[in-house]
């Protein structure tokens, strides 16, 4: 969508939103629930794409930002009785602020050191919930989007309501992120990722750019965390370390530099457990197989992607097409 005007892109997002709503009205509850999960995961992966794909910083603990966003939203609802839209805003503000602070560390760290720091955050953060009673311990906090409005009728299910909220919020967020990545900032981050020294020589403030990328990425992750808390729970078990790895996997599968691919990554992550279940059922329903197969499939896909399509299938297809078109001319 590089050459499309913002108005045209906005129109495409609106059309896509309508398609989603129409589809959601014609599928059963399970698919609607999965649709909400795909929407939320798309935004979470997009937050990694901003950070890693554009600014070149690696975070192994992005699940921690999702947790912070979810807890910020839940706390503002529990203790301030804030309206739902405000809780989402709080999730963005709080995680952006924490991302901003961490951004300073990120400005001084790079490569494995930054990855290690973020990893430590993801490992340590969930245990905090068990240290402070106001965070609700292992059971967590109640965070609720409320029931669907009565005017939608009795057939309008809870999960359709979750899907509507998730799809609406994520479409807006993705539109904003898309515009940001196509702005001066996006180009700056790309330059930074390609060669920090060259970028600095061109007058780019490297530290400032890194902090900004960290802040925005954290804000997006926080928002997706709040939405995740809405459809699941706000408790340590909802934000395990594996969540961070899953999101990175989704980003790599999608193509870590491709914002449009984030949806593909999310779909793959949601579909894999279904495929795993079909396979494990045919293998005889061993519990160990059922529990471990999704992880195994994801790992295999990850290895294959890194070997054969390191920038993701979407990027490979684009490059191949460009190559063909050049050859034609």
């Amino acid at each position: 969508m590089h050459n499309l005007s913002t108005k045209k892109v906005f129109a495409l997002f609106v059309i896509f939103g309508w398609i989603l709503l129409i589809v959601a009205d014609r599928v059963d509850e399970l698919r609607v629930y999965q649709g909400a999960t795909i929407a939320i995961t798309t935004l979470a992966i997009a937050s990694i794409i901003i950070l890693t794909g554009y600014s070149g910083q690696v975070s192994l603990g992005h699940g921690a930002f999702l947790a912070i966003g979810a807890y910020a939203a839940a706390l503002s609802q529990t203790y301030w009785q804030s309206p739902f839209w405000f809780t989402l805003l709080m999730s963005v503000i709080v995680t952006s602020l924490i991302g901003f602070v961490l951004g300073f560390a990120a400005g001084r760290l790079s490569g494995p050191y930054l990855a290690g720091t973020t990893l430590a955050l993801a490992v340590g953060l969930p245990t905090l919930a068990n240290q402070f009673t106001f965070l609700g311990g292992e059971t967590g906090l109640v965070y609720d989007a409320g029931n669907p409005p009565a005017r939608f009728g009795e057939d309008f299910t809870l999960y359709k309501w979750f899907f509507w909220i998730s799809a609406f919020v994520v479409l807006i967020a993705m539109f904003l992120i898309r515009n940001l990545l196509h702005s001066r900032y996006g180009r700056t981050w790309k330059a930074l990722r390609a060669n920090p020294t060259a970028a600095q020589l061109c007058g780019i403030n490297v530290a400032q750019s890194k902090i900004l990328a960290f802040t925005i990425s954290a804000g997006a992750a926080g928002l997706s965390g709040a939405l995740l808390g809405m459809i699941s729970i706000v408790a340590p078990s909802a934000f395990p370390l594996s969540l961070s790895f899953t999101l990175i996997t989704g980003a790599v599968l999608a193509g870590v530099t491709s914002l449009a691919g984030s949806m593909l990554g999310a779909v793959i992550l949601v579909v894999i457990p279904e495929i795993a279940e079909v396979i494990s059922t045919s293998l005889g329903e061993s519990e160990k197989v059922i529990s471990n197969l999704p992880g195994f499939i994801v790992s295999v896909l990850l290895i294959l992607t890194v070997l054969f399509s390191p920038n993701g299938p979407a990027e490979s297809i684009r490059k191949r097409r460009e190559h063909h078109q050049k050859a034609k001319h």
Binding site: I19, R26, G137, G140, V142, I231, I233
Partner: protein
């Protein structure tokens, strides 16, 4: 232009991907979800793998075994009961995901025997069983809150509440061990909090209260807990823990030569689970069972070794024939018992069962259902409490719980532990012939 076309295509591609992901599958119109002319579909989530799996992973297969026995004897008005088991690894988030699968994908009629306090709370809050009118029969947790019909209109408890258990143990301590230094180890969630409510009501003060986070129990963490208990000079230690936490505590204490008077809560005092939990550490089964020796325990049901009990006798037979190769223990007995209770509930819902009819039947007839607990269940139109009475015993070298008094005195209080503990002569319903319900 090329770029424009390419981008339109990519948006179209994205739309198609999502549309495929949300592949249309319209729900066929049924009289009631999960009920056909030949089958009633039920679902359960339990830890089949993970840290809490030893022992708890026997509950659902035991339920399934009883249902197979029931199906071989006519099922429910000719319909076979099909139990779908999902592994939640004792993680609340997983319990939500798996319960959603059971409801949305497998389209079960009702949930049965959902295990764990935190898991059931997570399910209640996010899957919203109440507002969706999906029954959850016999949740395997003693969290007293689930008796609240207004808050959880379709959830029915099975065990006596942890609050009641706490108050009954507290009263026992006051009457028999008042001069000792008493300490508590409990799970840092609503399981532990609920029990603490009962101890507070009984007026027990603990010299040390060790709280652990579910999932962190291990020999290493148990070393730290024992260190605290020794430092506080605890002479009596109450364990309101799951079996996978009880096991390392007893093993580490034994190895350290620390021998207080243990009082084991009913949740974490299953001998075979203890054996299974300690086997990886190289502790032989007999030695593991002996760790219980001399500990005081309490139970709402007979000990699984009590073959004179008609329920235990029947469940052992079913276990031998339909659950081959599985050692009979509390987990198996509990699984089979609540399958028996579910069978009675399904029969009481009539020949054309609906979820609403099932809930109504449990509220109106649930307290008369045959169940292994020595006191009837408290299912009424105003409360969904489970069993309500405990008896005290002492574990022997083989890990069997033997009554402290020959009469096996039952002690009770209300579900929320607001009333003083009293003795009760409550009687349970007799086991239906061959364990096959014929109620209506």
């Amino acid at each position: 232009m090329i770029s424009l076309r390419r981008n339109k295509k990519s948006v179209l591609f994205a739309s198609v991907v999502t549309s495929v992901a949300l592949a249309a599958s319209v729900v066929p119109a049924n009289a009631e979800t999960g009920v056909s002319s030949s089958e009633i579909k039920l679902g359960i989530t339990v830890p089949m793998t993970g840290i809490a799996a030893p022992g708890y992973n026997k509950v659902a297969p035991a339920m399934k075994a009883y249902f197979e026995y029931l199906n071989a004897n006519g099922g429910i008005y000719g319909r076979k009961v099909n139990l779908i088991i999902k592994d939640d690894r004792y993680i609340p988030q997983e319990a939500i995901n798996k319960t959603n699968e059971l409801i949305l994908k497998d389209k079960v009629f009702a949930l049965v025997g959902q295990l764990g306090t935190a898991n059931n709370l997570a399910i209640a809050s996010k899957v919203r069983l109440g507002s969706r009118k999906i029954p959850s029969i016999g949740v395997l947790t003693g969290f007293s809150g689930f008796a609240d019909k207004k808050k959880y209109p379709t959830t029915f408890m099975s065990f006596p509440s942890y609050a009641a258990e706490g108050r009954i143990i507290g009263t026992y301590i006051n009457e028999n061990l008042a001069s000792k230094t008493v300490c508590l180890v409990s799970q840092n969630d609503d399981f532990g909090t609920d029990a603490a409510k009962g101890f507070t009501a009984a007026g027990v003060k603990f010299a040390e209260h060790v709280k652990y986070v579910s999932g962190t129990q291990s020999s290493a963490t148990a070393q730290v807990w024992i260190g605290k208990l020794v430092a506080a000079k605890c002479e009596v230690v109450v364990l309101m823990t799951v079996s996978s936490a009880t096991a390392p505590v007893l093993a580490v204490a034994n190895a350290a030569g620390y021998k207080p008077q243990w009082i084991l809560g009913s949740v974490g005092s299953d001998t075979t689970t203890l054996k299974l939990s300690l086997a990886p550490a190289g502790i032989p089964a007999a030695q593991a069972a002996a760790l219980f020796n001399g500990a005081i325990g309490l139970s709402f049901a007979p000990d699984p070794s009590d073959t004179t009990d008609e329920y235990v006798k029947l469940f052992r037979e079913v276990n031998t024939n339909y659950n081959k190769g599985v050692e009979f223990d509390n987990n198996v007995a509990v699984g089979m018992n609540y399958a028996l209770v579910v069978a009675q509930a399904l029969r009481a819902a009539g020949t054309s069962p609906t979820r609403a009819k099932l809930v109504k039947a449990m509220e109106s007839k649930g307290s008369t259902f045959a169940s292994i607990g020595y006191s009837p269940m408290g299912w009424t139109a105003t409360s969904h409490a489970g069993h309500s009475a405990f008896w005290f015993g002492k574990f022997n070298l083989a890990g069997e719980l033997k009554p402290l008094d020959a009469a096996r005195t039952l002690y009770t209080t209300d579900n929320n532990a607001t009333q003083p503990v009293t003795k009760t002569t409550a009687k349970r319903a007799a086991l239906p012939a061959k364990g096959i319900p014929t109620n209506s």
